[in-house]
């Protein structure tokens, strides 16, 4: 069931789809955009560090020299470093809000959610230290205000602030320490980001090409139009006035000047709440894990290769009989999407004598039930006018009521349909088959539409057999709200079938794989 929050997100995404296209929509790639920003920060940071002097006298002047003596290289890098850092925070926060509104934090997703929370703290800490290194009036404010704020915490104390009350207390060592922290904290951030993606197979860490190019061009133009600058050099005898605050990183400090305890309470409270959220909210649907039948698992590892969440491992086969390995499902990691069942080569619907059983299957919607649904759809379409089309779709994509000459049947994910079901439909009365599902960037189970496209394009096992007439098969990716385009695709296939044998349509490119 779609919640109000989910409907709001999807509504906004649909509007941006009209501008950027589904695959280039930035809202669907916020995590990847955050990674892109991080890479820009890392590359520009390396450049800046070449020229940075870790000394009281050198810190300010070396940063100033970047802007003044090499504006097209060092100045640009410095500005890109700052603005990409800001963009990283914005994309990360938007990513968090989007996943929350879509309800993607419970069940098997808890680890990805929880591991994302400390990344925000690490990012802000990295930024605070970075501003400190410039050693201008803003740096003096950031250093003093940060230590005053942390000094409020029990057990920390205010002794560290004494390093900023007297010029003699500020030594070159401070800037070596800051450099160490400004490299170490982002390294920890990268380590945390790795853990954040640990449970995703083939995570998307780069946005679509068009979005990458557009973002980088915007960053360069923005950096040239509004170059990052320093304030006056730090003077410990004067309180900085009119500090240019980077509100993305330093926003808490002006508040902490007035109420340090309240700001700690709010930030810690939000962090604890976010961390506990997966257990505070009941999941909308509990995932039922896939089940392996050792008697039918031949250890081919196709399900292992296709699982989007790394829930399947290959272990020694318990049956022996010359079989070496078999699939094992970790129920805690399993999303219950059914993609593994669609990958199983033993899933052939043609066998009628014995019960339809496969090496791996979904208890809540086994392939036998899918075949029964398909049989019903074939019965319905048989009574319709020719040419008759079967639409194989997914529960989260566009749904089509029985229309003239077409009947639709959905699985949990479009990749739960083994390609052999297309052949089955064509041999049992369908004149054509249209495969549909969420577009890659919108795929609920991340890889469903991409894997399906690869299977149908002979790029991935299990393949659609060579003898299946390709001109009778079509693929159309459609958002769940995009029922009209699905209906148009059905009618286009019917028109092509009615026109008689022709060449197969140009295959649709495999959609990009979804990170979320």
């Amino acid at each position: 069931m779609t919640t109000r929050a989910e409907a709001a997100v999807r509504g906004l995404e649909r509007r941006l789809d009209a501008v950027f296209g589904t695959e280039g929509n930035p809202l669907r790639q916020l995590g990847a955009l955050a990674f892109l920003s991080l890479w820009v920060v890392v590359v520009s940071g390396f450049y800046i560090y070449i020229f940075y002097e870790t000394s009281v006298d050198g810190a300010y002047h070396s940063v100033q020299a970047l802007s003044q003596e090499q504006p097209w290289a060092g100045g640009l890098m410095r500005s890109a470093h700052r603005y990409a850092s800001d963009a990283f925070i914005v994309f990360t926060l938007l990513h968090l809000v989007r996943e929350w509104m879509l309800g993607r934090f419970t069940g098997f997703r808890w680890f990805s959610w929880v591991s994302g929370v400390p990344l925000l703290w690490l990012a802000v800490a990295s930024g605070l230290v970075g501003y400190w290194m410039v050693w201008d009036e803003r740096a003096l404010y950031v250093g003093t205000a940060t230590l005053e704020w942390t000094g409020w915490l029990p057990g920390v104390g205010v002794e560290a602030v004494r390093n900023f009350v007297d010029a003699s207390a500020v030594t070159d060592r401070l800037f070596s320490l800051l450099s160490f922290l400004h490299i170490g904290l982002p390294l920890l951030l990268l380590l945390g980001a790795w853990a954040h993606l640990l449970r995703l197979v083939r995570p998307r860490t780069m946005p679509a090409r068009s979005l990458t190019i557009g973002s980088l061009v915007a960053l360069v133009i923005g950096s040239l139009a509004w170059p990052a600058t320093s304030m006056a050099a730090a003077d410990i005898g004067r309180a900085p006035l009119g500090v240019e605050i980077d509100w993305f990183y330093l926003g808490a400090l002006p508040l902490a000047d007035r109420a340090p305890g309240t700001v700690w309470l709010v930030l810690f409270g939000i962090s604890v709440l976010l961390t506990a959220l997966p257990w505070l909210v009941r999941p909308s649907a509990t995932a039922v894990a896939a089940v392996v039948d050792p008697a039918r698992c031949n250890g081919c590892s196709l399900c292992f290769a296709d699982c989007p969440y790394g829930a399947i491992t290959m272990a020694p086969h318990i049956a022996g009989h010359g079989l070496v390995r078999m699939a094992v499902v970790d129920a805690d990691l399993c999303a219950g999407c059914g993609i593994c069942a669609g990958a199983c080569p033993s899933a052939t619907p043609f066998r009628r004598g014995a019960p339809f059983a496969t090496g791996i299957d979904m208890p809540q919607l086994p392939l036998a039930a899918l075949r029964a649904r398909l049989d019903e759809a074939l019965d319905r379409v048989a009574a319709m006018a020719s040419p008759r089309v079967i639409v194989l779709g997914c529960d989260d994509g566009a749904q089509l009521a029985d229309a003239i000459g077409a009947a639709m049947v959905s699985a949990q994910c479009v990749a739960q349909w083994p390609p052999v079901f297309i052949e089955y439909a064509l041999r049992h009365g369908a004149d054509g088959v249209l495969v549909t599902g969420c577009p890659g960037a919108d795929c609920t189970w991340r890889l469903g539409s991409g894997l399906t496209a690869e299977r149908l394009h002979d790029a991935r096992m299990p393949r659609l057999r060579a003898q299946v007439p390709r001109e009778r098969v079509d693929v159309h990716w459609a958002l769940r709200e995009d029922v009209r385009s699905l209906a148009q695709a059905v009618q286009a296939l019917r028109a092509r079938l009615a026109a008689g044998p022709a060449t197969a349509p140009a295959p649709q490119p495999a959609p990009a794989l979804n990170h979320g």
Binding site: A18, I236, G237, R238, V243
Partner: protein, 167 residues
């Protein structure tokens, strides 16, 4: 949406996002002090005197102790809190006792206070008392300071430099 309209819309989105980032990376600015204000900072770290009288050990007591522990004086570890009074033009700004650090209260007393004051000429009177047994303040200092807007007036305590420092 026509392709040209999509491109224009994309450019607008990128420009708006870039402007959003650039603007809030520096604006609005923030001042800790209001115009015409200066800052008075009290900051020190100083261990108070041992809070109780030491007792002289007898020869028998010393003989019972291991050789490396034969200190003639038997002193408790706890130190006195450091009591500080700061007056600005006759008005009390700070009148606090700062407890020694540590579970046994045997560490230094540390303090950090920042107080916004009006810029101009001020008469400052500071008293430090680091021994609970003494009735009078151990250190006192009076100074007249000319504080310009934004200037920081620092009150520190360093016995090796004569005690109370105002600069």
């Amino acid at each position: 949406m026509a392709k040209s309209a999509r491109i224009v819309a994309q450019v607008v989105f990128y420009a708006l996002f870039a402007a959003f980032i650039a603007v809030f990376a520096t604006w609005p600015s923030y001042s800790l002090l209001a115009p015409g204000q200066a800052l008075l900072r009290l900051s020190f770290s100083h261990p108070g005197k041992i809070s109780t009288e030491c007792r002289t050990r007898s020869a028998e007591e010393l003989a019972k102790l291991p050789a490396q522990m034969r200190s003639a004086q038997d002193c408790q570890r706890e130190r006195s809190p450091v009591r500080v009074r700061v007056e600005l033009d006759g008005s009390s700004l700070v009148d606090e006792a700062f407890a020694p650090a540590g579970l046994s209260r045997d560490g230094a007393s540390s303090a950090y206070r920042r107080i916004a004051i009006s810029a101009g000429t001020h008469r400052i009177h500071v008293e430090f008392r680091d021994d609970v047994r003494a009735s009078a303040a151990a250190y006192q200092r009076d100074a007249t300071v000319e504080a310009r807007p934004g200037q920081i007036v620092l009150i520190d305590f360093k016995p090796e430099q004569g005690g109370i420092l105002i600069r």
